[in-house]
């Protein structure tokens, strides 16, 4: 990573893996939005970076010119890791998404809330009596892997496997295609075996639902189903981990917000929306497949677009005081879960997990701050969140 030349002009040569971008991207995006709202880089074989809400929205809505067949920005063409429907375009996308949607409505997700509450309580029990914890590793990270395991219908302990595969596919895979393949193959074998078990012994879980699914009255190709299950890992774990971690990172540094949420827990759902806006973890990507122009900027086929919902969410043209976290913000049209047909399928699950994580923690550990002797580290790549978040209690 250190072999890449440093950036001296973000507008014409940005690098989303530059240490400064990883550490604190917001000032960079604010400057770009004002000076060059669609930045470009020759790095990674050519990438565009729109930073205004309106332009991000225009790209997200335009599936004719911007394909989801590649959603990773890489130096070399990465191994294709299909994870439908996130990697699907119309007309294939709609029926695939419809297969998953009923399991992810707010009512369907509500059924899992008691288990997620138990998970959070058990995690807090492990460290509540100590002087502190790493809220990213000991708490935020553990909640979504377990929640996904609950939904899929596999043992919570398998979460450790899920985490390894994701790390290989998404983080190591950025520079090491062999690692990406390792995660891919291992997850493939795991889900094939789980589906097989449920064909003979159906259960009330998501793997059974998918294993017996049909599109237009025909069974779905098992490889496609396995790819969908992989999506749930790829899209459902480090994203929510990042979102939960960012809430605690903020609250550790803003005692006034923390005290208010302790005193007014009914405000938590509103605050969650604001944390999602201000610290949206997920940047997607699109493959330019046909030449087009957006906001006066030509987009050339063969290049990629980084679709930064986090940057869109900081656009002052859409959000007054966009750079301030206002935990009781009433009007909040944020795009943390994307816009258009690829709206995050797990948005209701993520919201539930984040709210429960706060609701369970705040009454137990109302006072906490960043450990001044330790360092917070942030993930690299297109899912942004704290990976080490050492806190002191009291």
């Amino acid at each position: 990573m250190s072999t890449r030349p440093p950036v001296d002009d973000w507008a014409s040569d940005f690098d989303h893996l530059d240490p400064r971008w990883i550490e604190d991207p917001y000032p960079i995006w604010d400057a770009l939005r004002a000076q060059c709202p669609i930045a470009h880089t020759q790095r990674y074989r050519g990438v565009y970076f729109p930073s205004r809400f309106a332009d991000v929205r225009a790209v997200a809505y335009d599936t004719e010119h911007f394909s989801s067949r590649r959603i990773m920005v890489r130096d070399t063409p990465p191994p294709r890791i299909p994870a439908p429907p996130i990697t699907s375009d119309p007309p294939r996308h709609g029926p695939e998404k419809k297969l998953l949607l009923p399991a992810f409505t707010p009512d369907a997700i509500k059924r899992h809330e008691p288990r997620v509450r138990d998970i959070c309580r058990a995690l807090i029990d492990r460290f509540a009596d100590g002087g502190g914890c790493d809220a990213a590793a000991d708490y935020a990270q553990e909640i979504p892997v377990r929640a996904i395991a609950v939904m899929l219908g596999v043992p919570e302990e398998d979460g450790a496997l899920f985490r390894r595969w994701i790390h290989e596919m998404l983080e190591l895979g950025i520079t090491d295609p062999a690692a990406a393949m390792r995660g891919l193959t291992a997850s493939q074998r795991y889900f094939a075996a789980e589906m097989e078990k449920r064909r003979t012994e159906p259960r009330d879980d998501l793997i059974t639902h998918l294993a017996t699914a049909e599109i237009d009255g025909k069974p779905v190709d098992p490889d496609r189903l396995i790819a969908m299950m992989r999506l749930l890992l790829v899209a459902g774990i480090d994203t929510t981990w990042s979102a939960i971690g960012a809430c605690f990172w903020h609250l550790a540094q803003h005692p006034e917000d923390r005290r208010r949420l302790v005193a007014e827990p009914q405000l938590i759902p509103t605050a969650v929306e604001e944390f999602l806006r201000a610290y949206a973890p997920v940047t997607m990507a699109r493959d330019v497949v046909k030449e087009t122009t957006i906001n006066g900027c030509p987009f050339k086929p063969g290049e990629m677009v980084l679709l930064s919902f986090p940057a869109a969410n900081r656009d002052p043209a859409m959000f007054p005081d966009a750079d301030r976290v206002v935990i009781d913000r009433k009007e909040n049209r944020h795009a943390a879960f994307g816009l258009g047909i690829h709206r995050c399928i797990g948005s209701n699950l993520a919201r539930m997990e984040i709210a429960v994580a706060l609701q369970e923690w705040l009454p137990r550990i109302p006072d906490f701050r960043l450990d001044p002797a330790a360092t917070v580290t942030w993930s690299e790549g297109t899912v942004r969140g704290p990976r080490r978040l050492p806190l002191l209690f009291g």
Binding site: L101, F104, T105, P106, P269, F337, L339, I341, R343, N348
Partner: protein, 65 residues
């Protein structure tokens, strides 16, 4: 006063149903529609505007004619 969800634009973010469950309901896929014919009782007018202002897809119309 009436609310209406543009079903072509709605992508199921479910913000309206969370903020104004009296006015918006979700179908089996999580996409929103207005309850009944969308008529908004006077006491719920604020909620109708709140739902509109929180829809990321600009899919909600409030007709206050």
């Amino acid at each position: 006063m009436k609310v209406k969800v543009d079903s072509e634009r709605c992508q199921g973010h479910a913000r309206c149903a969370a903020l104004a469950p009296e006015l918006f309901a979700l179908d089996a896929f999580g996409n929103a529609r207005e309850v009944g014919d969308g008529t908004v009782p006077a006491a719920l007018a604020d909620k109708a505007y709140l739902a509109k202002a929180n829809c990321p897809e600009f899919a909600i119309e409030v007709d206050d004619a």
